[in-house]
């Protein structure tokens, strides 16, 4: 009998196990309760290990995910820095273009306002040396430029053309020591000549001692020099001093910032001979 049982050990074991499991299963199915006593015991034994392993697994996964996130953030950071650098350069370029656009718009407004034939030109070089204050512009005689034509900007008088070539021209700035512009004060119409001195401020000369000139008075072109049309802004009186002679010494702050000239308007209106 024992020999028989030993020979059929595996089938007997199978049937025993299956029988037990069937009892467990049927009891669960009958009671509707899915958790049997055996399962509860096993569950209590196994879950702490599973929970610990799960926590360790989560920790490792978290660590790996954190590392990967950090690497990705680093790469993204580098990319964003590159983008930022590019955007800063773009922004600077756009800002410059916006300013240029505004300047050109102002110049266009001035051109329409004056209703005189004119040519817009771009400053391509500056010549501040040996007592001369000049600009080179990219328009010349082929564009209709001639000597003694006024050069203006929206702020006021910049200078006049003193030399031309077919494709460029030299402009003598109002602050050049050889520059002289017939002018008057807007408020009292006191006549004089505004001369350059090679310094930031201009000087208005030949104004009678009897004229009323006060700091803050606007100085405009009078048109008497037959170069500049009347009414263009030359500057503002900074100081007016009465000297012992017959004339006043008047210092004028130029309306134009000569260091920031980039585009100018050359008035093509023919000036009478002998100007």
């Amino acid at each position: 009998m024992i020999q028989f049982l030993l020979e059929r050990r595996a089938p007997l074991l199978l049937f025993t196990i299956l029988f037990i499991l069937l009892v467990v299963l049927s009891s669960q199915a009958r009671s509707g309760n899915d958790a049997s006593l055996l399962e509860s015991v096993l569950f209590r034994l196994v879950t702490p290990v599973a929970r610990l392993t799960h926590a360790a697994g989560d920790g490792t996964t978290g660590l790996v995910e954190d590392y990967v996130s950090l690497r990705l953030a680093h790469v993204e950071n580098l990319r964003l820095k590159e983008d930022l650098s590019r955007l800063v350069v773009d922004r600077q370029r756009w800002e410059a273009e916006r300013h240029e656009y505004q300047r050109l718009l102002d110049l266009l407004g001035l051109k329409e306002q004056l209703a005189l034939p004119s040519v817009a030109a771009r400053v391509v070089a500056r010549g501040h040396g040996l007592g001369a204050f000049t600009l080179i512009i990219d328009r010349g005689s082929s564009d209709g430029l001639r000597t003694n034509q006024p050069v203006i900007v929206p702020a006021g008088v910049a200078g006049r053309v003193v030399e031309t070539s077919p494709s460029s021209a030299k402009v003598q700035l109002a602050l050049d020591p050889n520059s002289s512009i017939a002018a008057l004060t807007e408020r009292t119409r006191a006549q004089g000549m505004v001369n350059g001195r090679g310094q930031p401020h201009l000087r208005m000369e030949y104004v009678s001692d009897l004229e009323d000139v006060q700091p803050g008075d606007r100085v405009l072109t009078s048109g008497l020099d037959r170069i500049f049309p009347p009414g263009l802004s030359v500057g503002t009186v900074l100081r007016a001093e009465r000297s012992e002679g017959l004339v006043q010494t008047i210092e004028v702050e130029a309306a134009v910032d000569f260091d920031k000239l980039e585009e100018v308007l050359v008035l093509l209106a023919p000036q009478p001979e002998g100007s």
């Binding site: 595996a10 199978l14 958790a35 096993l42 196994v46």
Partner: protein, 162 residues
């Protein structure tokens, strides 16, 4: 492989399935049954009585860690281990193709056993991908069997050396 080694293998399979695959790779978890692969391996390499005990243990462990009716996997894997082990005693199942066949047939047989058991108990059984599972288990099992064999050889060499 020793019984302790097999127990460790079952525990590792269980942890990998429940801790790694189920939460992080649910699509893989649906297609791979590491418990079954280990049970088939033990059934091929060990005597019938031992195989069905280990199969039952693996199945019950799965029952505990998954939310199925307790005993279903134990029952199915016990029976599966008995059948595969019985086949192993009559045929040569230690070659790649028969092993692959054992894994595929084992997966389908387990599906059939579980379905029949739950149907008998008046429970619903849903496993939409039995064939896919069988093929994936076959492929993954082939790879793992190579690893298990290597581990077993290393274990036996260490035992001889000591």
């Amino acid at each position: 492989m020793s019984t302790l080694g097999e127990a460790v293998l079952i525990a590792l399979a269980s942890l990998t399935q429940q801790v790694v695959l189920a939460p992080h790779f649910p699509a893989v978890d649906r297609l791979v049954d590491l418990y079954l692969i280990v049970v088939v391996y033990i059934s091929i390499t060990r005597p019938q009585g031992h195989a069905l005990l280990m199969g039952t243990a693996a199945g019950l462990l799965k029952d505990v860690l998954t939310h199925t009716l307790f005993g279903v996997n134990g029952f199915a894997k016990c029976l599966l281990a008995f059948l595969i082990s019985g086949l192993g005693s009559k045929f040569m199942l230690n070659q790649p193709v028969p092993q692959f066949g054992s894994l595929v047939v084992g997966t389908l047989a387990e599906f059939g056993i579980a379905w029949a058991l739950l149907a008998t108990l008046g429970r619903e059984f849903a496993d939409p991908l039995p064939l896919e599972r069988a093929l994936v288990n076959g492929a993954v099992g082939m790879l793992l069997f190579g690893v298990f064999n290597r581990l077993a050889r290393r274990g036996s060499r260490a035992a001889h050396a000591s």
